[in-house]
Symmetry: C2
Subunit: 242 residues, 2 copies
Amino acid sequence: MASNRFPIMEIFGPTIQGEGMVIGQKTMFVRTAGCDYSCSWCDSAFTWDGTGKQDIRMLMASEIFQELSRIGGESFSHVTLSGGNPALLPQLNELIDLLHENGIAVALETQGSLWRDWFLQIDELTLSPKPPSSGMQTDWDILDELVSRLSDHNRCFCLKVVVFDDADIRFAEEVHRRYPEVSMFLQAGNNDIMETDSTVLLKRLMKCYEWLVQSVMASTVLRSVRVLPQLHTWLWGNKRGV
Amino acid sequence: MASNRFPIMEIFGPTIQGEGMVIGQKTMFVRTAGCDYSCSWCDSAFTWDGTGKQDIRMLMASEIFQELSRIGGESFSHVTLSGGNPALLPQLNELIDLLHENGIAVALETQGSLWRDWFLQIDELTLSPKPPSSGMQTDWDILDELVSRLSDHNRCFCLKVVVFDDADIRFAEEVHRRYPEVSMFLQAGNNDIMETDSTVLLKRLMKCYEWLVQSVMASTVLRSVRVLPQLHTWLWGNKRGV
Ligand code: SF4
Ligand code: SF4
């Protein structure tokens, strides 16, 4: 019986997915708590650093689905599972199954630090290994295994690297060289997650994105890749829950 | 022998694709001259209204490829064919074949007013029927035929509707209802293609995009669609050739 409970931080939407392989997608978000990483520039540190502890609710798949339906009504058929790292939850397939039974597509992003069999059920899976600026180390053996399992099963997945500086671009090149057949996204980092003045923030974000575009245009390694901003931060700044 | 000549307006890049199904893609652009439509808000009217006549060059596929290689060097493996309406050119397969022989993927956008057998060779094809605000009429029989041929051949294609107002949203809903299985993109229109002040333009474009996002979020017809801006106009305004 599907009666496991999951640590849920936020449920919101419908809104657009602001980044990555389905940028612009109308979706609901379910954000799980907890992460096995602690990236220096994490924009959802409240999911793992204790500051959002009071907001965590332990919910069953059926309760999560009820809340999605209550908030989103009849207006959605796509849900994005976000974190933290949702891959920490071994039984998350209970939620994925329930969503699929109700005709809802499911997207998920994880840094790729561990494998779950239910990855094979995700409709759009993003593996987002973290570059040097994050302070984290990628375990290439594990990432190799994830990529080859997903490829063997012909799954719809991509690689995404958030980029802050030149060293991060070199890392993205390394990822792309290692997995040349996998769709590759580069995303401009948000280097000021505390800025509350949206005009100041927008200017800064656009500069970072333009720098990334120029860097990628000049690269002969990153020949067929996609370069994207975080559209939601351009629109709504550092606000949560939009 | 591949010796047909094509009316070419612009060849430029590498830059990012600013819109649609491969938004953010690093690509070169080849813009053909001529269109069978005359949309009221066309942002590339210079390709068909006579104002760009002096820039049109009649080039063979091999000459186009030479120019792409000269400008783009080793840094690209993706080309976007744009117009005008490139579907007006019956022998464009000569260019597509040559690009494919050189390991280059090819994307193309057309309003869907006529069929070409070479559509089946396009790696990412966008059909962009025009909404009421354009002043154009969609021939649904032709569009039906295009969609069913592309679907029958399992091609990678999508529908995209540019939206300026509520009537355009109703049109987008009609398109989505008619072809529920096809990936659907809504794009915020640029209602000021003459504005040269980039800050003024950006504010206006962001407002239009936010309005479109809100409208789509409220729709129970447009449940699983993608809503995007024109990223290149946000970055570079109404400039040509970037
Ligand atoms: S992996 Fe993601 S959620 Fe975890 S610390 Fe890094 S950025 Fe934050
Ligand atoms: S179909 Fe496209 S190129 Fe032709 S007039 Fe309309 S917007 Fe312009």
